[in-house]
């Protein structure tokens, strides 16, 4: 943003000058220290470097501030930001994949804690990452404030006066006409105004008229819009981070969900999130269905919901798909994942029927899923089962091992080992519902054969347990996980993004250019009695396009049949 290369930058200190000293491509750098480099030919509103500050107590502070808002610092911070993001993409991140982080810790027991101390597993929430982007934004805002002021001033002020020597400008022409100078300039003014140039005219001391015109202010406007939008984007992101909310919940077919803090399995609220802000809505998952291609790739996911826009009885049906979230008052519900939940009936030794729908966790693309069934309420000893659910089951005839070959439930089976004893739920220690954490007081259920082999049950089959009781695999149902989010900063971020794109396009494609005309009545010389008109123009970007535009403008301004003089003295082109 702030270019330290002001109009007085000496080309001799620029090591690359001469190689890319194409003054026409630099949007922000002024012409480099030439006799004609006056205020008029500066097309940039970048602040000019100030003169050396007087020695005072605040001098070091001001010096540091100038350093921070300088373009070199901004560039350095940009590269640091890019560099700082790299580890975040190659090391597992807690926010993205906490399981992978644990695995990484297990695999690298010495390195992981060291990296963790450097926030390498929370790169994008780390203090050093924040330091870089906050410094960058401070630098940006510092630079923006002065550029906004300068651009505002440029917008209301007149185009600069005509430079003394117009023939030094990259676009230049000269001709004479039989019209008074005032008339020439009035015509020119009208023509330029029609093409939306900003025009001012003045009288030339000693006779004649001059005109200054400028166009393409939108370039800097776009540039500023882009950078202001960046700041607004950061505000939008911060709003989401502070007041937003994200929760995930697993729902089995037939079960419901009401949007309250307690209903979630996992919750990550923003720092300033208020539970009062949770949008009251509820839904029931009637059915989940997935379809797959021949090769097992998923084709579609569909969750049929009945939704209520309050906590009342759900009424309106909704088909939730990937890419089509359910939206209720700014709270969006997404389909996140799915799996199988076999329905089983366990009877205990006294013949009590205990029905359960067991959430099994998928272990791969064919949906072989691990299941744990705990029956703490069984009469006598507690019962537990552990095994796998296989949607399309294939059993090895030799080893008896089961696998799944396809994710859809074409031939579902539940293959389990049974346990009797004390599950360990009663000692108050929390246990995962998805595994048997404490097997110390459990005895495998066995018919006496050795080794103990798991029992495979197809839908409807029952395993009569040796020693009493039974396990029946009734039918296959499914579960789905949903994510509910509320992000109040989302629209701010979207508006800022739109501003960024518009600003970028303006700042890259609009060309800022200036045009000057001087019409002086000739007293003696080559065309006595005629008016000699001299035109000069300057564009920092798109020189080819400007040359054509300049030629067309001159063509339009020049009256028919004039005496045309050489466009540029020959030595100018050397």
């Amino acid at each position: 943003m702030t270019s330290t290369a002001g109009p007085t930058a000496d080309p001799t200190v620029d090591p690359t000058a001469g190689r890319s000293a194409d003054p026409t491509v630099d949007p922000d750098t002024g012409p480099t220290g030439e006799p004609t480099a006056d205020e008029a030919t500066r097309l940039s509103t970048a602040p000019a470097p100030r003169s050396a500050p007087r020695a005072s107590l605040t001098a070091p502070v001001r010096q540091a501030w100038r350093q921070l808002v300088s373009m070199r610092t901004a560039l350095l911070l940009l590269f640091l930001l890019a560099l700082a993001s790299v580890p975040g993409s190659f090391l597992p991140q807690r926010t993205l994949n906490p399981v992978e982080v644990s695995t990484w810790f297990a695999d690298h027991p010495t390195l992981a804690p060291l990296l963790d101390r450097l926030s390498m597993f929370d790169v994008f929430a780390s203090p050093w990452f924040a330091a870089i982007y906050l410094l960058l934004f401070v630098s940006l805002i510092g630079c923006l404030s002065s550029r906004l002021r300068l651009h505002a001033r440029a917008l209301v002020s007149a185009p600069p006066e005509v430079p003394r020597v117009l023939s030094r400008l990259p676009a230049h022409d000269r001709w004479s006409a039989d019209v008074p100078s005032a008339q020439v300039l009035a015509d020119a003014r009208r023509a330029l105004r029609r093409s939306r140039w900003r025009v001012v005219t003045a009288e030339v001391p000693g006779g004649g008229h001059a005109l200054s015109a400028e166009k393409g202010y939108l370039r800097e406007t776009g540039n500023l819009l882009f950078h202001v939008s960046l700041v607004v984007l950061l505000v939008g992101i911060a709003m989401g981070g502070l007041f937003g909310f994200k929760g995930t919940v697993l729902v089995k077919e037939g079960d419901g969900f009401a949007n309250t803090v307690f209903a979630y399995d996992d919750l990550s609220p923003g720092r300033r999130f208020d539970a009062e802000r949770l949008v009251p809505f509820s839904f029931v998952l009637d059915d989940f269905a997935a379809t797959y291609a021949e090769d097992g790739k998923a084709l579609t996911f569909l969750a049929r919901l009945r939704v209520s826009d309050s906590f009342d009885e759900p009424t309106r049906p909704y088909e939730l798909r990937v890419n089509h979230p359910l939206e209720v008052d700014g709270a969006k519900t997404y389909l996140l994942g799915h799996g199988y939940a076999p329905k089983v009936v366990v009877t205990d030794v006294e013949g009590n029927r205990l029905e359960q729908t067991v959430v099994c966790l998928p272990q791969g693309t064919t949906f072989l899923s691990t299941c744990t069934i705990k029956v703490p309420d069984a009469a006598g000893e507690q019962l537990a089962f552990e095994g796998v659910f296989t949607p399309t089951t294939v059993q090895d005839p030799e080893t008896g091992r089961v696998t799944s070959v396809y994710p859809a439930p074409e031939n579902p089976a539940l293959t389990v080992l049974g346990y009797r004893g004390d599950i360990g739920l009663d000692d108050g220690r929390p246990q995962s519902v998805y595994s048997l954490d404490d097997r110390s007081r459990l005895e495998p259920i066995s018919d006496g054969s050795s080794p103990i082999t798991p029992v495979k049950l197809a839908e409807g089959q029952t395993w009569q347990l040796p020693g009493g009781g039974s396990l029946t695999f009734v039918e296959t149902t499914e579960w789905a996980t949903f994510q509910v989010t509320q992000d109040p900063g989302k629209l701010v971020a979207l508006a800022a993004s739109a501003g960024m794109v518009v600003g970028l396009c303006l700042s890259l494609f609009v060309r800022r250019r200036r045009l000057w005309l001087r019409a002086v009545p000739q007293v003696g010389g080559e065309a006595p009695g005629r008016t000699v008109i001299e035109a000069g123009g300057l564009a920092r970007t798109g020189p080819e396009a400007f040359d054509a535009e300049f030629a067309a403008l001159v063509e339009r301004l020049r009256p028919a049949g004039p005496v045309r003089e050489p466009a540029r003295p020959v030595e100018e082109n050397a």
């Binding site: 194409d22 012409p31 480099t32 890019a82 400008l169």
Partner: protein, 338 residues
């Protein structure tokens, strides 16, 4: 035609495309070589060594920053037509245009075979990126902004991209995974393809610029450039290369910005957040930041010229990482169809 026949046709057209591009690369290389030998001949005829001739050109160009700061450097006069060179160049152009036509045919038949937008996996994406790079290059040649003989270099990454796509990344025509089944695939992915193709092209031109600058520097220092720096002799002037590289980036950067934003909007609809530092998002961000750095560097004293060009090359490198390394080696939400 059945889907299977269409898919086969698409694959065959793909092979023809690679062949045509490779042949056009050779033809352009022929033009480059002819020009170089002609310059040697001209210089000899004028009693100058090649080095002196080039140094004279360099001096003429350096004059741009000299006494008349506003006057642009005169473009070096277009080389006088040499029969052998221009024929090779015209043939190269013909082969490249033919390649683009066949390439478009391959993409269209693939879309018809799979009955969807033909950029849903890495194979198709790579193919499209190469198509964009070549198309933008030909458009620049057609509008007179780029020397067609640069095709010898531009076709190299295009052929490499296609070669990689056709072998390692090849995926049979098939339906999309559910997450990609959205109209955003047309918008987000196409913007990414278009800007990637342009960035790829700008990266090649930036490298050529650096080559040309090194060549000129060595000549100015009184040395004799050796291969590969000697290839710089047949290239357009450094400034012209720098300007082309900038123009292409200036076009691609807003498109890339839009691609990221469109991706964020899609991510919001698909995953419930518009930004989550998924590896793909992270590297898109890194690429974006580096190109932003490039644009700023070009406006900063001490950074313009070769430093800015190196940033442009690094940014193109980040883009390749964003695309290949992230998709193949890092598991993330964007790990589709590889």
């Amino acid at each position: 035609m059945t889907d299977v026949a269409l898919a086969q046709l698409s694959d065959r057209l793909f092979v023809v495309t690679v062949l045509l591009y490779a042949l056009s690369m050779l033809a352009f290389a022929g033009e480059q070589a002819a020009r170089r030998s002609r310059r040697v001949a001209e210089a000899t005829a004028a009693g100058m060594s090649l080095r002196e001739a080039a140094a004279a050109r360099t001096r003429a160009m350096a004059g741009a920053g000299g006494p008349t700061a506003y006057a642009r450097a005169p473009e070096p006069a277009p080389p006088a037509p040499a029969v052998r060179g221009s024929r090779a160049g015209a043939l190269g152009l013909l082969l490249a245009v033919g390649g683009v036509v066949v390439h478009v045919g391959s993409v269209v038949t693939r879309g018809m075979a799979a009955d969807r937008t033909p950029w849903g996996n890495m194979y198709e994406f790579s193919s499209m990126v190469a198509l964009m790079a070549v198309t933008i290059f030909l458009a620049l040649v057609a509008t007179g902004r780029v020397d067609r003989a640069l095709g010898a270099f531009v076709m190299v990454p295009a052929v490499l991209y296609l070669g990689l796509a056709g072998t390692v990344l090849y995926t049979a025509a098939g339906p999309l995974v559910p997450a990609l089944d959205s109209y955003w695939i047309k918008i987000h992915v196409f913007a990414a393809i278009l800007s990637s193709g342009a960035f790829l092209l700008s990266g090649v031109v930036a490298l050529l610029y650096l080559l040309r600058v090194r060549h000129d520097d060595q000549l100015a220092a009184g040395g004799t450039p050796r291969f590969p720096v000697s290839m710089g002799a047949a290239l357009p002037a450094a400034q012209a290369l720098d300007r082309v590289s900038y123009a292409v980036i200036a076009f691609a950067f807003p498109v890339w910005t839009f691609a990221i934003i469109a991706g964020a909007i899609w991510a919001e609809a698909a995953w419930g957040r518009y930004w989550g530092w998924d590896p793909k998002e992270t590297w898109s961000f890194i690429t974006w930041v580096l190109y932003a750095g490039y644009l700023h560097a070009r406006a900063t004293a001490g950074w313009k010229g070769t430093k800015a060009a190196w940033i442009g090359v690094a940014a193109a490198g980040a883009l390749v990482i964003d695309y290949y390394v992230v998709n193949i080696f890092v598991v993330g939400l964007h790990s589709y169809g590889s």
